[in-house]
Amino acid sequence: MNDIFIILTAVLVAINCALLGTFLLLRKMAMLGDAVSHAVLPGIVVAYFFAGDKGSVFILAGATVAGLAATFLIDFFSRRIRIQNDAAIGITYTLLFAVGMILIAVLMQGNADIDQECVLYGDIALINFDKILIDDNLYIGPRAMYVELVAGIIVVSSLVIGFKGFKLISFNEDFAKSVGIKTSRWHYFLMALVTLTTVVSFEVVGAILVVGFLVIPPASAFLITRKLIPMLVISALTGIVSVVSGYFLALWLDVSITGMMVVMAGILFAFCFIISQLRSHKTLAGTGFEQKTQEI
């Protein structure tokens, strides 16, 4: 039973990340997602220190503030100070991550809930200790699963309702602005969703490996399909396959579960990459179809 709950939780993480990651990838902001996932750490630690409870909404608020602060800071460095964009990302996330580490050392001495390891790869195997019981004895699953579920509902409904907007700003931001869409609001909305996902996934998969869930499945899907909705679906599916296969492999080899899930995502990507290479060779060597379409 516990296995199923762990897998279900991980599946929810994978779906949330894959859907948002698709838009990050299309907006060429994968590294911004990476930066945000590192940068939420100080927010989480401070909020945890004051709220003293893992499930608190303070954590969410604190981390969201930290995540958006990172987005602003990167913007400030690259636009106002004119530091190269990738250097701006590097400076910002290392700083915020370092602050988070120091805060852990100062505020969390001897506290088992937030320590260095969980920052890195979460403790998905332990989520079952934090159970939700109905009538004191009916076990309906770990709290983390329901947190992920709520986050998933928020993410999916935001993406469904805002689909047109996200698509427009991802393909052609200037055009979106020209028809009167407030693109920076949409941008920060997307980043807020990414932060939300990172934070709720934090205790399950850790702050760094979450990047793997955000970026690798969408990249696999991007190689397989050239349509947006199939890309979202395939992205979520490869995410799910990675976590399920990764879970059992990790149990078999007795290694980190989250780590193995991301490794599986990488291996799936390698498959997609090889298939796409074979396919493009075939088309080129085949009918000359590509050349023919070059002219009308």
């Binding site: 590294m31 990249a219 990488g266």
Partner: protein, 426 residues
């Protein structure tokens, strides 16, 4: 208390302190050196990928050697670091995926392999693995005498390579196509440079950890860049900033046992960055001061110009006495700014008090005439070279008269064929 530990720290009585400091100096200098070229080649984030990719290499090195043998670990790290760069390059070259996504993927993938291997070692290891997790977050205190020797060798190799290849590296970083065209072995030097970068990161992760080490590559150079445009100076500044932060970070963690070294190094480094953002030659502070100075200059020159417009002084010794009321009637001056401007003009001896009113001095008269001249020259230039409505010419010249240098003034006169003050006024 803090002084006592400062004395302990800097008296180097404790050999461990010496090892740590020497190690940090070599590590930080090496990473700042290669970081400069990474930054110039816009490859800062590649260093990020490499640093995460070293973790599986460290673990493999450990599995191979069966113990925490530094050369084995670094060799492993070097190999996986290189593979990560190759993979990023392969993905970008062969598919539609762009570089930023490729980097993010490789970071997560290699890191995950590292975590898997680490947990494997922890569960199946023979007990020698203690301290392997230092590579995650860095543990500067763990630097040993042998490590220092290794770091020193790496530093010397990097330094020599940079010194010997300096010219080629500069051309390559600035313009790789040109480098190729003049027969520089671009591919070889790129390979070499990347190897040095991987090496510098590899020796640094023991002190800083795989996540924060990229700060040592990126931050010092980006900060040094704010202070100078000169490449050699930039390298020196980057090394100084980095080494200073390293020593300061080590000191903090020496005084407070629970404080981690790596994060403090990064925080101090970033603090220097923020200070530079404000204080550097092109920083926010100078911008602010220059803007104020410009505003004052414009204000003062406008006062002089208004006096001219008010009185005119083509004839000799016409009345050059004026009151503030007259000035504000002619042009809408802010009273506070007008007063401050008049005070500055008096200090510069361009005007002087005359009872309750003011009087233009001889130098002031010259200065006013110069401004009017520049204004009208620019009006003429705009009319000649561009399409501008005559009712817009005046406003177009309004700000520019204050910035025209004597050199440009001469060129304007030459180009327009005008000497003295142009007659036409718009």
């Amino acid at each position: 208390m803090i002084w006592q530990s400062a004395i302990d720290f800097f008296s180097f009585k404790d050999p461990n302190v010496v090892y740590v400091l020497a190690g940090i100096i070599f590590i930080n200098s090496s990473s700042a050196l290669v970081g400069t070229f990474a930054y110039l080649r816009k490859r800062s984030l590649l260093a990020d990928a490499v640093s995460h990719a070293l973790l599986p290499g460290i673990c493999l090195g450990f599995l191979f050697a069966g113990e925490k043998n530094m050369p084995a670990l670094i060799t492993g790290a070097f190999i996986t670091g290189w593979i990560s760069i190759y993979l990023i390059d392969l993905i970008v070259r062969k598919s539609r995926i762009k570089q930023d996504a490729a980097i993010a993927m490789v970071i997560a993938f290699f890191f995950a392999i590292g975590i898997v291997l680490l947990t494997y070692i922890q569960k199946h290891g023979n007990g020698n693995q203690a301290g392997l997790d230092h590579f995650l977050f860095g543990q500067a205190a763990a630097i040993s005498k042998n490590d220092v020797w290794l770091f020193a060798v790496v530093f010397v190799v990097i330094l020599l390579a940079v010194l010997l290849l300096y010219k080629n590296l500069v051309i390559l970083s600035f313009n790789p196509d040109f480098a190729q065209s003049v027969g520089i072995p671009v591919r070889f030097i790129e390979f070499f440079l990347t190897s040095l970068t991987v090496l510098a990161i590899a020796i640094g992760i023991q002190a800083l950890g795989v996540i924060l080490i990229s700060a040592l590559i990126i931050t010092p150079t980006a900060t040094a860049r704010m202070w100078t445009h000169h490449l050699k100076k930039m390298i020196v500044i980057a090394i100084l900033i980095s080494v200073f932060s390293g020593i300061a970070g080590a000191f903090v963690s020496y005084t407070r046992a629970q404080m981690p070294t790596g994060p403090w190094v990064v925080v101090i480094l970033s603090f220097i960055t923020f200070v530079s953002v404000v204080m550097a030659p092109k920083g926010l502070l100078r911008k602010f001061i220059v803007r104020r100075k410009n505003e004052n200059k414009i204000n003062d020159e406008n006062i002089l110009k208004t006096i001219f417009e008010l009185k005119g002084f083509s004839e000799k010794e016409k009345m050059l006495v004026f009151s503030t009321v007259e000035l504000t009637e002619k042009r809408l001056f802010d009273t506070k700014k007008l007063d401050a401007g008049l005070r500055r003009l008096i200090r510069r001896n361009l005007i002087q008090h005359k009872g309750n009113e003011f009087e233009l001095t001889t130098t002031g008269k010259k200065e006013a005439a110069r401004i009017i001249k520049l204004h009208r020259l620019w009006e003429q230039y705009l009319l000649k070279r561009t399409s501008i409505d005559t009712d817009h010419v005046h406003s177009g010249a309004e700000a520019i008269e204050h910035i025209i240098t004597p050199e440009i003034e001469k060129e304007l006169e030459k180009e327009l064929g005008i000497e003295g003050i142009p007659e036409d006024d718009y």
